[in-house]
Amino acid sequence: MIEDRELDTWREQWSSVAEPPADFQRNVHQKIKRQDRRFVLGNFLTVIAFLGILIFALYMRRQSSWMGTGWATGICVLVFVAAGCRVWALRRTWRPETQSTRAFVELWHKRVTARIRLIRISIYLSLGWIIFCAVLTAANWGTIGQDVRALPKDWIALLAVCVLMQPVLLWYGAVWFRRRKLAELSEVEKILDEMDGKSVQ
């Protein structure tokens, strides 16, 4: 057998590098419990939020006006379309961690590109929602117009905060998130290149 003293020395140094902290296992078990609680709470809040939106939609529907019906339909469509898009865009990107490192990085790449695609879909959905709100308002201008004329300052403030700020916030949010994801994509591609031996020598 060939003696590899360099490797033996490295291994000796390496094996004395670090030991897990004394209360390691206890801390991990506490973390698992906290995570379980968060999981239950998260699911509970999601169900509550979903039911809340449906109840709000029903309430609006009972207003028996075009506005109420429009809001109710719009909110339901938006919630289901958004949830559907998210599930579709992120399909086949779960549970990567037990795979080999190569498969994990490939899946990571897929996951980041899916997120970038999701940003584009979200922008289209949000624009659709803004247009829908504008059309709904125009269709009900007869009712809304009287209010606007009675309280012009309040309506202008509402218009500025709720309507005009939406595209601005949406734009900056999307740009910020997209930039982050593109940086992540470039990092993942760099790791994939390293794995293929392209960039490291």
């Binding site: 390496w14 670090a18 902290p21 390691f24 296992q25 801390n27 080999s100 490192t101 990571w108």
Partner: protein, 173 residues
């Protein structure tokens, strides 16, 4: 508590006892700062717990643990850019206690160890993984299984990684 969960917890505790030290060492290659590294070690353990219910023995338990640990390490490197802190930031208490009595020898060994760690942390992430698996004593076949590459590829890349590590340790004062 269900019997299934009880069995999983027992298996999980055994894995942590058997591989806890290896997980800590592996985390060392991804994070130099002790407090953050402790968090990383816990995250790896948590990921093992989450994956354990789906583990059907397709690979050895050791491979399973190293895969998860490396994958978590990679995500950690991305989340915490710049990827490594200088080793000066390692807390004193983090250094293992050397039972040998000569302080000069202890200092020299600690220096060598720190030089090795610093050199490993300076390697590109994929080379770092190869080196860590080699130091952990995995065979080429096991390394190939963890990393998802062929054994031939492992041999070629390991040579390159070893050379880089050697250069890096020699460069360090």
């Amino acid at each position: 508590m269900s019997e299934r969960r009880h069995d999983l917890e027992a298996q999980f505790d055994r894995i942590l006892s058997e591989h806890g030290a290896a997980i800590s060492r592996l985390a060392f290659s991804y994070e130099a700062l002790a407090s953050v590294r402790e968090e990383l070690v816990q995250e790896i353990a948590l990921a093992i717990w989450q994956a354990l219910a789906h583990f059907r023995g397709e690979c050895s338990e050791r491979t399973f643990v190293y895969r998860i640990a490396h994958n978590r390490g990679l995500s950690h490197v991305w989340k915490r850019r710049p990827p490594h802190q200088p080793l000066d930031e390692i807390e004193e208490s983090d250094q293992p206690i050397d039972p040998r009595p000569h302080p000069e020898e202890q200092v020299a060994q600690t220096d060598q160890r720190m030089r090795l760690m610093s050199a490993i942390q300076s390697l590109p992430v994929t080379h770092r993984q190869m080196i860590v698996l080699m130091l952990e004593g995995l065979s080429h076949a096991q390394m190939a299984e963890v990393l998802g590459i062929t054994e031939n590829n492992v041999a070629v890349r390991l040579n390159r990684a070893r050379k880089m590590l050697k250069d890096a340790t020699e460069e360090r004062p």
